[in-house]
C-alpha cells in the first residue's frame, strides 16, 4: 500500500532561488549581470573582446566570467581588453548554474564592477534553462548558422532579451537571409530586438555595451512571451 504526496516542486527551484539571491545581492551593490548564449563558434568571445575594450575606453567598470569545458584560451583573449577576467572550467558540464557563478565571483569580482558579462558554455540547449542571476540575456547567432536557428532552438531564442547576429561581413558569402531570420525570431519571441554585428568591419560596435548600460540604469528590458507564464 503506498500513498501519494502532491509535491508540486519545480525541479530547478534550487537554481532559481540561487539566481534570485545572486541578482538581489549584485543589484544592491550596483552590478548588473549579462548572460551571453550561443552555439560554439558563433563569436561570443570576439564580440565580448570588442565590447570590453570599448567599456575600458569609456571608463565603464566591466568584468567578464567565461565558461568552457576546457582550456583558458578565452580568458586570455578577453584579458587583452584590460578588464578583470576569470575563466570557469566546467569539467565537462554543458552549462553554467547560478551557484557556480556565485562561487567564482567570491573573492574576485571588484566591488566597483558595473557590468559583469558571463560568457556561457557554447551550447544553445542546456544553458537556456538556467537563470544565472542576469538582468539581460543575450543570444547570438552567426550568419553561417542558417536562418532557421531560432526555430531549431526555440527555448534559447524564445527567452532572449536581445538577439545579436554576428559575422555579418560574411552575410553575402553565406547567403544569409536576414528577413527569414527575423521572421523566425519573431515567431518564437515577438518583439525582441535583433541587432547586426561584425567584429571585422565594426558594425554594431558598442550596441551590446549600450544595452547592458541601459539595463543597469533601470531601463525596461524586453519580457519574452515565453517568460510570461500562466497568462
Amino acid at each position: 500500500m503506498c500513498r501519494a504526496v502532491d509535491l508540486q516542486r519545480a525541479v530547478l527551484a534550487k537554481n532559481e532561488a540561487a539566481a534570485q539571491i545572486l541578482r538581489t545581492e549584485l543589484t544592491a551593490r550596483g552590478t548588473t549581470v549579462v548572460n551571453l548564449l550561443s552555439s560554439p563558434g558563433s563569436g561570443k568571445t570576439a564580440l565580448l573582446e570588442r565590447e570590453l575594450r570599448l567599456a575600458a575606453e569609456r571608463g565603464v567598470s566591466a568584468a567578464a566570467l567565461t565558461a568552457d569545458l576546457a582550456t583558458e584560451n578565452d580568458a586570455r583573449r578577453l584579458a587583452r581588453s584590460g578588464v578583470p577576467v576569470k575563466q570557469v572550467l566546467t569539467d565537462g558540464l554543458c552549462h553554467l548554474e547560478a551557484d557556480m557563478v556565485a562561487r567564482h565571483l567570491h573573492d574576485w569580482l571588484p566591488e566597483s564592477t558595473r557590468l559583469l558579462f558571463v560568457e556561457n558554455v557554447g551550447n544553445l540547449v542546456c544553458p537556456a534553462g538556467y537563470d544565472l542571476g542576469e538582468s539581460l540575456r543575450v543570444v547570438l547567432a552567426s550568419v553561417t548558422e542558417g536562418e532557421d536557428k531560432p526555430l531549431k532552438y526555440p527555448s534559447a531564442f524564445g527567452l532572449a532579451q536581445l538577439v545579436i547576429v554576428t559575422k555579418t561581413d560574411m552575410a553575402e558569402a553565406a547567403e544569409f537571409d536576414e528577413t527569414a531570420f527575423r521572421t523566425h525570431v519573431e515567431q518564437v519571441n515577438p518583439g525582441v530586438e535583433v541587432v547586426l554585428s561584425s567584429v571585422r568591419d565594426g558594425r554594431g560596435a558598442g550596441t551590446l555595451l549600450d544595452r547592458a548600460l541601459a539595463t543597469a540604469e533601470g531601463n525596461r528590458v524586453h519580457t519574452p512571451v515565453m517568460a510570461r507564464a500562466g497568462a
Partner: protein, 131 residues
Amino acid sequence: MHEMSLAVAVVDQVETAARSRGAIGVSSIELEVGELAGVVADALAFCFELACAGTVVEGAELITRTVPGTARCTPCAEVWPVGMPPCLLCPGCGAAADGLVSGRELQIREVRWADPEASREEAHQPITEES
C-alpha cells in the same frame, strides 16, 4: 546534455522530502514536463536510473507527463496549441501572445512512498523547503 543535472535535482528533492517523512522507499515519481522546457524525456529517464543509484529513490518508477505548449491572446479570447517549433503569434490577429498558458513546466508533481509507515501523514501536506 543537462538531463543529468535535472535528474540529480529530482533525486535530491525527493530524498529531502523522504527524510523529512522518514520514508525508506519511493514507489514512483511523477514529473510534469512542458513541451517547451527543453527536456528529452528518454535522456532524463536514463539519467534518473544513474542518479538514484544508492539513494532512497533507487528502484522508483519515473513517470513523465508531457504538457503541451499553449498560448493566449486576450483581445481575441483565444488559446491555441503553439506547436513545435512554437508560434507565439496569435493565429487570429497576428499579434504577440500575452503569454504562455502552459508548456514550460518542469515540476515534480507527485511522489508515492513505498513505505506504509511513512504514509501516515495527510497527502497534499506542504513540504518544508530546504536548501
